[in-house]
Structure formats: structure tokens, C-alpha cells
């Protein structure tokens, strides 16, 4: 190829002509869709719920949802930062258990008499317990960052190890400390200090902490150099390093933020349940946090996600869980996992509806599609029969079968041979 002269046309100066794309109230379209979905879920629950608890006891319903949202949201924000940085933290649930245990056992060691006789332990002791829990979060985050950047484990493996390891460690810690300090060893420590009780009885404490933390995280991600580096790291790690970003330090921050938010949430779990109970506290909740982030628009491949998205994702998950428990009158926890699973699938499918509608892909292709039709219909029927009785179950199953069959026929007609 022949070498060539510079073009004679001057560079166009329109680079800055177009302003930054603005969003209504700063929310993106997917986030507005979430707002709409939350409103629809609340209205439907108010109408369908035969006890009409949203009308009769609005304050109590609101308190329940707010408390649960704040507790989930606090460490979902941590998960968001880790996910945007291109990582994953599977250990949040175990971190919650460990944090509560560290706080409670620290207080037990410092004030054994008061703890065992359910008397106030004093503000100083509580402060030391809380500080110890948060410090533990920092250390776990450091451990994660070390395993990932220095030992070079994939984040999934490193945090899988701490997911199983930390819970066991928390239980062992609880049993050794109770054995040393109290007459019998125990797998839980009761916490009746009035400070914790006040937190339990006053929902505004976790909500305020959640709101402040969300604001902090939002400023961090959108308005600081570190936040931009987190996005860059998650979007393209090698390019980030070659742009002079200390990627190892950014990861260190992200994992510490993830673990410390989980530690903070762990303190509220203890307050809420008046007990530090490492065996079951927070078990599996790391996946709810990841689900909230994903429903809120985070991409698990990193680089993409917003704080408002995650907040709305957490609110939406808790509203739907609450709605189902109100409508079918069971404990919220029975269907919680099922709801989270379905919401995640639907939310992510929803974001791909455009591609499906353009005909690029098919929902029910080939033999896989044929087998998926009865699978989905049976699932829908089974859920319906457990919640709405046998006839409802059969009707739902048959209706799903017919609907999916019709979709399959429509898709194969539409696609040209």
C-alpha cells in the first residue's frame, strides 16, 4: 500500500456538540420498568390479598418490606461493586454469619456476666463488638483479594472456598468461645442488649443505614476516580492494567467493600433475631444479593451496573416475596427461593425480549423446545396446585401447555424454512 498524505479536511469540531444523554430523574429505561413492576406488584397484592393487609395494616406491611429490603440491600450494594469490578463474591451469606458471631462472642468475652444474664453490656462493649465484626469483614475481603490477585485463583473458586469455610469457622468460633466463657458450649449466642433491641424495634435504623450506604456507593461509582477504575477493571481488565490502573488494589477495595457490607448486614441480622447463630444465619442469602444486582441490570461479565438498579432490584425482590406470602398465606420463606429464581429468569429474559421479537432467536427451538414445553407446564401446574388447590393446578398446567404449544407453532410458522 502506498503511503499517503494527511487528509486536507480539517478535523470536525462537533465532538462535544451533543450533550451527555440524560435520563428521566437519572434512571435508565430498565430501571423505570422495575419501578413500574414494583407498583404493579404492590397494587395487585392490595387487590388480590383476601386479608387486605396492605389496607388494614399499611404501616406494618411497609415496615416488614422496608426492613427486609434494607437488610438485603446493604450487602447487595457490596455484591454490585464486586460484580461491576468483574468479580463475584459467593461468600456474603457466610460472612453475615461470621460477622454476627464475631460481634456476639466479642461481647461475650468482654462482658460475660451481663451477656448471660441478659443485662445491658454497655455502649463501649457494643462498639468494640461492632468494630471487631467490621474488621473481620475487612480481613475477609483482604483474604479474597489475596487469593485472587496473588495466588491467582478465579474469584468463583476463592469465594466458594470461603462460602463453605467461613460458616464452619464461625460455628467453631462460637463453640470454642462459649465453652471457654460459659458453663456449656453452644452453637449460638443470645444477644439481648438494649442497643440491639432498639435497632430491632426501630426500622428506620437499618433503612437509614441502607440509604446512606446506597448514596455513598452511588457517589463512589459515578463520581470518583476509584469508581471509574472499578468500571474499567470490570469492562476490560488487561486494558485497565495497561492504562496504568493498579488493578490489584482496585480488586482489593472491591472485595473488602463486598465483605464489609456483608459484615454490616450481619450485625442487623443479629439485632433482628436477638441471636448470633452461625449455623443458619444468612445461609444462601449471597445468591439473593447477586440476584438483586442482576435484576437491577448488573452484567455478570463485569463493567455494567448501577446503584439505583440494585436498590430497585432489592425492593422488587422483597415486594414480590411479600406479595406471594400475603396472597397465598404461607411464611415468606417457603417460596422465597422459588420467587427469586423466577424473578431473575423473567427479568433477564425481559431485557432480551427485543432480540426475541425481532426473530433472531427462538424461545422453543427444536427437540429442546419440545421437551421444555411439558417441563414448564408441569412446573407451573405443580406450583399452582400447591398454592391454589388441585383444580387450579390442573387448570394452570393445561393452560400453560396450550399456551406454550401455541407459541411453538407460531415460532415455527414465522421462521422461514
Amino acid at each position: 500500500m502506498t503511503p499517503s498524505t494527511p487528509p486536507t479536511t480539517p478535523p470536525r469540531g462537533d465532538a462535544a456538540a451533543r450533550p451527555r444523554r440524560t435520563h428521566l430523574l437519572g434512571l435508565r429505561s430498565g430501571e423505570w420498568a422495575l419501578v413500574g413492576a414494583i407498583v404493579v406488584a404492590v397494587v395487585l397484592t392490595g387487590l388480590i390479598d383476601s386479608n387486605h393487609s396492605y389496607f388494614r395494616l399499611p404501616w406494618q406491611s411497609l415496615t416488614d418490606i422496608l426492613r427486609n429490603t434494607a437488610l438485603l440491600g446493604i450487602f447487595a450494594l457490596g455484591a454490585t461493586v464486586v460484580i461491576i469490578a468483574g468479580g463475584i463474591d459467593l461468600s456474603a451469606g457466610s460472612m453475615i454469619a461470621l460477622s454476627g458471631t464475631v460481634c456476639a462472642t466479642t461481647m461475650l468475652v468482654l462482658a460475660p456476666q451481663a451477656m448471660q444474664s441478659f443485662k445491658p453490656v454497655g455502649g463501649a462493649v457494643v462498639a468494640v463488638g461492632v468494630a471487631a465484626a467490621l474488621l473481620t469483614g475487612f480481613m475477609v475481603g483482604t483474604l479474597h483479594a489475596w487469593l485472587i490477585t496473588a495466588v491467582r485463583l478465579p474469584p468463583f473458586i476463592a469465594t466458594l472456598a470461603t462460602l463453605v469455610g467461613l460458616r464452619s469457622f464461625a460455628r467453631a468460633l462460637c463453640e470454642s468461645v462459649t465453652q471457654a466463657v460459659t458453663p456449656t458450649k453452644s452453637a449460638l449466642v443470645n444477644v439481648y442488649d438494649p442497643i440491639f433491641k432498639a435497632v430491632r424495634e426501630n426500622v428506620w435504623v437499618p433503612v437509614t443505614v441502607f440509604v446512606l450506604l446506597a448514596l455513598f456507593t452511588w457517589v463512589l461509582l459515578t463520581r470518583t476516580v476509584l469508581g471509574r477504575h472499578i468500571h474499567a477493571l470490570g469492562g476490560n481488565e488487561q486494558a485497565a492494567r495497561l492504562a496504568g490502573i493498579r488493578t490489584d488494589n482496585v480488586k482489593w477495595f472491591a472485595y473488602c467493600f463486598g465483605a464489609m457490607t456483608a459484615a454490616l448486614a450481619g450485625l442487623f441480622y443479629v439485632a433482628n433475631e436477638s441471636v448470633a447463630q452461625p449455623v443458619n444465619q444468612g445461609r444462601g442469602h449471597e445468591l439473593n444479593a447477586i440476584a438483586a444486582a442482576v435484576v437491577g441490570g448488573c452484567s455478570l461479565s463485569g463493567g455494567v451496573g448501577t446503584v439505583p438498579g440494585t436498590v430497585l432490584g432489592a425492593v422488587f425482590l422483597r415486594v414480590v416475596i411479600d406479595a406471594v406470602s400475603k396472597i397465598i398465606k404461607t411464611g415468606a420463606d417457603v417460596y422465597e427461593g422459588l420467587i427469586v429464581g423466577i424473578v431473575v429468569v423473567i427479568a433477564v429474559t425481559f431485557s432480551q425480549l427485543g432480540a426475541l421479537a425481532r426473530g433472531g432467536t427462538r424461545l422453543l427451538p427444536g427437540a429442546l423446545g419440545l421437551c421444555a414445553i411439558p417441563t414448564l407446564a408441569i412446573l407451573a401446574g405443580a406450583i399452582a396446585s400447591m398454592t391454589a388447590g388441585r383444580n387450579g393446578g390442573i387448570a394452570t398446567g393445561v393452560a400453560s401447555l396450550l399456551l406454550l404449544g401455541a407459541l411453538r407453532v407460531w415460532e415455527s410458522r414465522r421462521a422461514p424454512a
Binding site: 503511503p3 498524505t5 476516580v225 474499567a232 493498579r246
Partner: protein, 505 residues
């Protein structure tokens, strides 16, 4: 039955993507058994046209005829069955599988009990490689192969499909001269067997050696199709960019300043390789206001050398690097940035761009500290910061907040150069900066590099294209297998002499 006169006919093909018309009413006839080159700048629609031919996309309008029959592919499988094989610019091989398994991927041979019959596949694969002058064993792990050999694996796949039409999308962009020559022989052999070849390339010399006819696309439209004998490279490049391009060098009359960089006895060990080193006893100097070209084949150590200078490589090297006379040893690119050294990396998409960030954020990334107010990023200040280099480097973008992925390769590269200019570098390391960039944008980048150099920057430039080095560089250092084998002042450098030094063992 005689073969139809036209292997492929495309009539009025139109393809729209959100926001752009990638192809606008393009018609193209490819005669059976010819080598048909398709030329055009990046974004001209070449790849989209080939993706329609190979079933990746369906056209929004228009008719596609293969072998005289109208077809409508709903996937690449359909295209393969119609005898069309495509060799993509980015190779689509499973690196962890052996070569033979890649050749037969998705069409595995089965033997007794329905188990995979590796032996017969390996035997057939070996036969195909023999035709292709490829010395690779069918059992080698594909990821261990050189890029040139990997490409032959793709071609072997096309041959094993018995494809009557083979599409090659810029096949020589990663090849050495020797590998390119081998590929040309392969193409001639395919043509002798009656295969029709569609050949996409930027490189005029190749196109004019190989093609029977040439089609030029520009901005999604068909410009013209001509016989090779009836045109010239200059005319074709003129059609591609929509204007004539005159030959011009940028070297000369650049004042040379102080010595910035002094490299002595630089050796980078390579324990797992029989040669034992990636770089050995490298010595070079760089002055302010000078462009030092580094020539060398793939694997000669060009990238490794720049990575050491930038603190991005393995920290196992020995020797000395002096910056302004003071010894330095960068352990992280951050330290290099602080010492006013900048590097534009070789693989723009993988090592340079942040696809999730907009144009402004991509440009401002290394100098964000300057956009802080009270410790927080100030968007307006960031925009002003990014605006300077975007304007100075002549980036064509719909706006500072447009997605960077919507820009052409040349404009993306200008953004990355602009990013580094914000760090006010004294030394700019450019690792093959115009790879995959079209002719017009290359000329603009050359002018930009020349201008920066005249402002007093010291530039080290590597390139896989010798004319580029000859156009820009004041001096050219030639690497061969990790050693400096020659150094030419601009006046003494010729393609032949450089190539001779680059292939010297």
C-alpha cells in the same frame, strides 16, 4: 451438468442495523472459479456482506443466489450445506482441542459403537495438510500453533467440507511474508480445483497478485466491479476512500533533540523455550523528536520489548534502561506513566478499549485526577479534558458521550492515542497502531504521529507492514528471534534489506 456461470449472485442486498444502513442495495456477481477480491475501508460493509453470504445474518431485502438457485439461509449450517465456507478474520477454533478435532468439529466421524473415530479423522486431516504444505501434526493442540498454521487449519476445514466457494476475510493480517506466500500458493491450488474464492483485503499488492476481478464497496454501497487488468492499485484505493491519495513520506526535516532513552544489554529469559530467551542483548537509543521503527516478523520480540519499556511485561529481564540518563525499572504501567512514558497497545479491542465506557471516559481515563473538584469527578471538567485530544487527534464521533464501539477502528485508535496524550508523555510507544485500520484513517494517523514527533515526542513504532515503517521512521531497528540483527538510518532502509535482516537466524 456444467456449473452455472455465476457461483454467487447477490441482487439488491440491503441490511440495516439499529442506526445504520450497513448495506444499501448492493448487487454482486461472482463467476464460478474466479478469485474475486472485495475491497473497501472498514465500515464499508464487506464483512456484513460476507456474513449474509455465509448465513450469519439474513438480508432485510434482496436476493441471494448460489449456484444459480435462490437461497435463504437461516444459519451457517445452511450455507455450509450449499458449499460455502468462510474463514473469519478472527479465527474460530477451539484452542484446547487437537487440530484434527477442530477440522471435523460438529461433523465428527464415528466408528464402531458410535464412538468418535479419531484415527480416520487424523488420517484425512494429515492428507489435507500435505496439500496445504502444512507441517503441523493433526494431534497437536490447536492453541499451540502459530497464527499462520491456525489459519491453514481453517482452510483445511473448508477443504474437508468440499466447499465450492471459500470466503477469506483479511486472511494475511496476522501472517508473516513466508506464510502469506504459502497462503497464496494454496489459493492458486484451490482455484485449479475449480473453487471460487472471495477474498477480502486491505493490501493492494496481494489483491493485485491474486484477484481476477475486484469489487469496491464504500459506505455500504457498491462502487464498481472491474477486471484487475483494467485498473491500478492507486485507482482502487481512490475508489475506496472516495478520493485520490498521493504518496508522501513524513520523515525528514524533523529536528532531533536530546537522548531520552538508552537501552543496553536487555535480555528477557524464556525458560520453557529451547531458545532460552525472548530478547537478547538489545541495545537501542531514542531521541526526542525522533521516530524509531522496530521491524520484525511475528514472534521476533517487538511487543515484548515495548512491554518491558512500559513496565507491562514480566519483570524477569536483565540489562539496563536509562531514561534521561537515570536507570529505571518499571514494575507496573503506572510507574511508566508517572515517568512520562505512554504505550498504545497492539490489540485495540482486547488491550485498549473499554466497550462499556463512552468516548469521553475512554479518553480521560489516565488523567482523571485533572477532572476532580473537591475530590469528586466533575463531569463538565472531564468533558473539557477529553475534548482537547478528541479535537486535536481529529476523532470523528457523533459526540463525546457516544459509545466507543460505534466508532471506526481508526477513530478508536485516535481516542486511545488521545488518552495517552493527556498524560503529557515524552516517549510514546506505538505497537502496530494501524493494524486493521483502513487506508484513509491510516493516512490521518501518520500525519498525527508525525505532528506529535515534531512537537518533541520520542516515538517508538512497530508495524507488521514495512511500508509503514519506511513512511514514518527516522531509523529502523530490525529484530529477528529476539536479537537486533540490523539498524538502518532512513536513507539506507529498503524493504528488501529489512526483510533480509528480519529473516536472518
Amino acid at each position: 451438468m456444467p456449473p452455472p456461470a455465476h457461483a454467487v449472485r447477490m441482487l439488491g442486498i440491503t441490511k440495516r442495523f439499529p442506526g445504520v444502513v450497513a448495506l444499501d442495495d448492493v448487487s454482486l456477481e461472482v463467476r464460478t472459479g474466479e478469485v474475486h477480491a472485495i475491497c473497501g475501508e472498514n465500515g464499508a460493509g464487506k464483512s456484513t456482506l460476507m456474513k449474509i453470504l455465509s448465513g450469519v445474518y439474513g438480508p432485510d431485502a434482496g436476493v441471494l443466489e448460489v449456484g444459480g438457485r435462490a437461497v435463504r439461509f437461516s444459519g451457517t449450517r445452511d450455507a455450509e450445506e450449499a458449499g460455502i465456507a468462510i474463514i473469519h478474520q478472527e479465527l474460530a477454533l477451539v484452542e484446547d482441542l487437537p487440530v484434527a478435532a477442530n477440522v471435523f468439529l460438529g461433523r465428527e466421524r464415528r466408528g464402531a459403537l458410535g464412538l468418535v473415530d479419531d484415527r480416520s479423522m487424523e488420517a484425512e486431516c494429515a492428507g489435507l495438510f500435505e496439500q496445504l504444505e502444512c507441517t503441523v501434526s493433526p494431534r497437536d493442540r490447536t492453541g499451540n500453533l502459530r497464527v499462520g498454521d491456525q489459519q491453514l487449519v481453517e482452510i483445511a476445514k473448508a477443504l474437508s467440507l468440499d466447499a465450492s466457494i471459500v470466503v477469506m476475510d483479511e486472511p494475511t493480517s496476522a501472517l508473516t511474508e513466508a506464510e502469506s506466500a504459502r497462503l497464496e500458493r494454496t489459493i492458486r491450488r484451490l482455484v485449479e480445483r475449480g473453487t471460487t474464492i472471495l477474498y477480502i483485503s486491505h493490501k493492494m499488492d496481494e489483491v493485485f497478485r491474486l484477484a481476477d476481478r475486484i469489487t469496491v464497496l464504500r459506505d455500504g454501497r457498491h462502487v464498481r466491479t472491474v477486471d484487475r487488468a483494467a485498473t491500478s492499485p492507486r485507482e482502487v484505493t481512490g475508489w475506496m476512500v472516495g478520493r485520490e491519495i498521493a504518496g508522501h513520506g513524513f520523515h525528514g526535516a524533523r529536528p532531533r533533540g536530546d537522548r531520552l532513552l538508552e537501552v543496553r544489554d536487555l535480555t528477557l529469559p524464556w525458560p520453557e523455550h529451547p531458545r532460552g530467551y525472548r530478547l537478547r542483548d538489545i541495545a537501542l537509543d531514542l531521541h526526542a523528536g525522533e521516530i524509531l521503527g522496530i521491524a520484525g516478523l511475528m514472534g521476533a520480540g517487538r511487543t515484548e520489548l515495548l512491554e518491558i519499556l512500559f513496565g507491562a511485561g514480566e519483570d524477569t529481564w536483565s540489562g539496563s534502561i536509562r531514561l534521561h540518563g537515570r536507570p529505571v525499572r518499571f514494575r507496573h504501567p503506572r510507574e511508566a506513566c508517572a515517568a512520562r512514558v505512554a504505550m498504545v497497545t497492539e490489540d485495540r479491542k482486547r488491550l485498549g478499549l473499554f466497550a462499556d465506557l463512552d468516548v469521553a471516559a475512554n479518553v480521560s481515563l489516565c488523567a482523571l485526577e485533572e477532572a476532580l473538584r473537591h475530590g469528586l469527578l466533575d463531569r463538565a471538567a472531564e468533558d473539557r479534558l477529553a475534548e482537547g485530544p478528541v479535537r486535536d487527534t481529529g476523532v470523528k464521533t457523533p459526540g463525546l458521550h457516544a459509545p466507543i464501539t460505534g466508532l471506526s477502528g481508526g477513530n478508536q485508535q485516535k481516542c486511545i492515542i488521545g488518552r495517552w496524550l493527556l498524560t503529557r508523555p515524552e516517549i510514546l510507544l506505538l505497537d502496530d497502531p494501524t493494524r486493521g485500520i483502513d487506508v484513509g484513517a491510516k493516512a490521518e494517523l501518520y500525519a498525527l504521529i508525525d505532528r506529535l514527533c515534531r512537537q518533541g515526542l520520542g516515538v517508538i513504532l512497530t508495524s507488521s507492514e514495512l511500508p509503514e515503517l519506511l513512511t514514518l521512521a527516522d531509523r529502523i531497528v530490525v529484530l529477528a528471534e529476539g536479537r537486533v540483527t540490523a539498524e538502518f538510518p532512513r536513507a539506507e532502509a529498503t524493504e528488501a534489506r529489512i526483510m533480509e535482516a528480519a529473516t536472518a537466524g
